[in-house]
């Protein structure tokens, strides 16, 4: 999964993949191995890179993740609250029925409530994995919704200027 996450006036590109028992998380291209344990619904314990590294003098962090106002999320690392904005899942569309990558229809959904600024493709277009297909504006930011994999645009369920709820179906890629 990939996310654009804004904090401190800067957008970070974050990619998360499972790796063994933990996760490989890249932040702006710098890869970290994260051992993750859930403490409660809002609290995560992270051990980053298994030892003190470039992030600080330690490697154990506790994060309390709380939804804030205006769609922002407040992540407290210890006593330091960090306000972040999740600008959607890039390539975060869901596959139906557990279809294997590269086969079956792919539903592209809105990652957040917002307004469709531009539909970038039309029915019948061939698209490649990670290709932007729709631009949704939310929190005064434009967010590109991308195709998860190669395919052909089968159905389009939105149009420029349409307001969408989070999870609304935008298009189906065959």
């Amino acid at each position: 999964m990939q996310y654009d996450i804004e904090t401190g006036g800067r957008v970070r590109h974050v990619a998360v993949n499972r790796a063994g028992d933990g996760f490989a998380v890249s932040v702006d291209g710098r890869l970290h191995q994260v051992d993750l344990a859930r403490i409660d619904a809002h609290t995560l314990s992270l051990i980053v890179d298994g030892r003190p590294g470039p992030l600080g003098p330690g490697s154990v962090y506790e994060a309390t993740v709380a939804p804030g106002t205006d769609g922002r999320v407040v992540v407290a690392i210890g006593t330091v609250p960090v306000t972040v904005s999740l600008h959607g899942r890039r390539g975060g569309g869901r596959r139906q029925g557990g279809a294997a990558p590269g086969s079956g229809p792919l539903r592209i959904t809105a990652p957040m409530p917002g307004k469709v600024v531009r539909v970038l493709v039309k029915t019948g277009d061939a698209v490649r994995a990670r290709q932007p297909v729709v631009v949704v504006e939310a929190m005064k930011m434009e967010n590109e919704v991308r195709a998860d994999r190669d395919g052909t645009v089968a159905e389009i369920h939105t149009r420029d200027g349409m307001s969408v709820e989070a999870g609304a179906l935008l298009m189906i890629i065959q």
């Binding site: 999964m1 996310y3 996450i5 904090t7 401190g8 970070r12 974050v14 998360v16 996760f23 998380v25 932040v27 710098r30 970290h32 994260v34 993750l36 859930r38 403490i39 409660d40 619904a41 809002h42 609290t43 995560l44 992270l46 980053v48 470039p54 992030l55 600080g56 962090y61 506790e62 994060a63 309390t64 993740v65 709380a66 939804p67 804030g68 106002t69 769609g71 922002r72 999320v73 407040v74 992540v75 407290a76 690392i77 210890g78 006593t79 330091v80 609250p81 960090v82 972040v84 999740l86 959607g88 899942r89 990652p111 957040m112 409530p113 709820e165 989070a166 999870g167």
Partner: protein
């Protein structure tokens, strides 16, 4: 005494309930509409609803509190601090209902509730008071008479409300030409806040410390003072950090302060727990400021260094026991204790209230740590009351170790879902002047006003990276727990109340809301 009704809420109601239980007494809670799930209700044996969330509809309703007391069959009432604790009429109503009021007599509350009457009592007891007018300024006084009085006291002068507290109805006058306007402004502020427009004048001391003496008095005339509490760390006249003993008090000064406090208390026939507040000048000269006729917020630090349970003693005195404590031991602190008042406020946004649901909570523990809290995870911090969540107290063998321990505990404290003053305390306890014990009552306000101050909670680049990683992981694994997924599933209204409080704060003006929150 078998059953005590606790006419309060929050951490102090929890604190009193604990003392009751330890003494085999059944604690009875009262609660307002928004406090049904509050900790003080959950820990009580019985609980009675007393009305709407606004204090005037519940915690200030003497009739409903007494009705609850009657229904429960309680034989005594503990007022805590704030709300009705210092209203002589409440103490009298409790007695008239045939119940024991756990506190001083209505007469003592009334005398000390008037600042000018309290000053007069101190003068009669030959305890120095800050130079000022012995009586309220007559409303019809002429400008020139006023100027004459101020000149005889000496500038700068303070205009203070006779019924005041918490800095309301108070004005500092440095230039004589501002005096008449300041008196007028203080009068109208005092009238609005306390229903009493009377004001008096007092000299403003230069860089004084606020030092207070806890005492207990029994019904047989014994009054015992305790080692002093240092309360000079204040933000806009509200205490935020208290410690004992004071770094500025020598053993000789301690004896003098204790003797003066006990003399004032004896002069008014004081019983139960009370606190005499002094201003202490850099040279050690001290002046009576006022007497608080109740348990103080900061009482735990005294308990930590003396081993005395003040709330249990309040109950024991009320039921007629004799104070048989060793007076010397009460003036001999064992170690050092520091208290931080943890508020639901955003220190990086002008300390605006930050109410809302507490999503996660981990209180610190371990050696020397005491956390007197009124909240739990899942509780919605209401918009209606003082936003204090808890009092974090650290005890250690000496002051440097107590500071280190407090900082350790602050680092362990997690309150998720709302902003708190925790990062502010991490910053404050790291200030060199604090470590050196070099401060006075306006030190913190001056420090906060410095233009180049950094935010209290400033994430370094590494912390930001960890935060975005955590946000991404949470979004992926538990989308309903982030705002994005939450709105999708309709489980969003976690923070509705938060914005409501903030809207109200904006509506009334931040100053107005701050003025409304009377703290103790």
């Amino acid at each position: 005494m078998k059953k005590i009704l606790i006419a309060n809420r929050g951490e102090i109601a929890v604190r009193i309930g604990r003392a009751c239980r330890e003494m085999g007494i059944s604690p009875v809670a009262v609660y307002s509409e928004c406090d049904r799930t509050a900790l003080h209700v959950r820990l009580a044996d019985e609980a009675y609803a007393i009305g709407g969330s606004a204090p005037r509809d519940s915690y200030l309703r003497i009739d409903r509190i007494l009705e609850a007391a009657k229904k429960s069959g309680a034989d005594a009432v503990h007022p805590g601090y704030g709300f009705l604790a210092e209203q002589a009429s409440f103490a009298r109503a409790v007695q008239d209902a045939g119940l024991t009021f756990i506190g001083p007599t209505p007469e003592a509350i009334a005398v000390m509730g008037s600042k000018t009457a309290a000053r007069a009592a101190a003068v009669r007891a030959r305890v120095p008071v800050v130079p000022g007018t012995p009586d309220p300024i007559p409303p019809a006084i002429s400008g020139s008479q006023l100027q004459e009085i101020a000149r005889s006291i000496g500038y700068p002068v303070l205009v203070k409300a006779v019924s005041g507290g918490g800095g309301k109805g108070m004005r500092t006058v440095i230039h004589p030409e501002d005096l008449v306007d300041a008196v007028r402004a203080a009068r109208s502020e005092a009238d609005a806040a306390f229903g009493d427009a009377a004001v008096y004048l007092e000299r403003r001391l230069t860089e004084p410390r606020h030092i207070e003496v806890q005492l207990l008095g029994d019904q047989f005339g014994t009054v015992l003072p305790f080692v002093e509490r240092e309360c000079s760390i204040q933000r806009r006249h509200q205490k935020v950090v208290e410690e004992t003993p004071s770094a500025a008090v020598t053993p000789a000064l301690r004896q003098s302060l204790a003797a003066a406090a006990a003399t004032v208390a004896r002069a008014v026939g004081y019983t139960n727990a009370g606190t005499v507040e002094f201003l202490v000048e850099p040279g050690g000269a001290f002046f009576f400021l006022e007497m608080n006729t109740r348990l103080q917020v900061e009482h735990p630090i005294t308990e930590m260094v003396t081993g005395i349970d003040l709330v249990q003693w309040q109950i024991r005195i009320a039921r007629g026991e004799r104070l048989d404590l060793d007076p010397d031991a009460l003036l001999t602190p064992k170690g050092h204790a520091i208290e931080c008042r943890i508020y639901a406020e955003d220190p990086d946004n002008h300390f605006l209230p930050s109410p809302g649901r507490i999503l996660a909570l981990r209180a610190p523990a371990g050696p020397g740590i005491r956390d007197d809290s009124g909240v739990t995870a899942g509780f919605e911090v209401p918009i209606f009351y003082d936003p204090m969540l808890s009092k974090l107290v650290a005890w250690a063998e000496d002051r440097p170790r107590a500071i280190a321990r407090a900082r350790r505990a602050l680092g362990e404290y997690v309150v998720g879902g709302i902003k708190t003053t925790l990062p502010f305390f991490v910053w404050l306890l790291g200030q060199p002047e604090f470590a050196a014990g070099r401060f006075h009552t306006t030190y913190l306000d001056e420090l906060l006003a410095s233009p180049n101050r950094r935010p209290f909670a400033e994430p370094g680049a590494g912390i930001e990276d960890v935060a975005v990683m955590a946000a991404a992981l949470q979004a992926m694994l538990s989308p309903s727990a982030t705002a994005e997924g939450g709105s999708e599933k309709g489980v969003r209204p976690l923070f509705g109340a938060g914005s409501r409080w903030k809207d109200r704060a904006r509506l009334e003006g931040v100053e107005g809301l701050a003025a409304r929150a009377v703290r103790h």
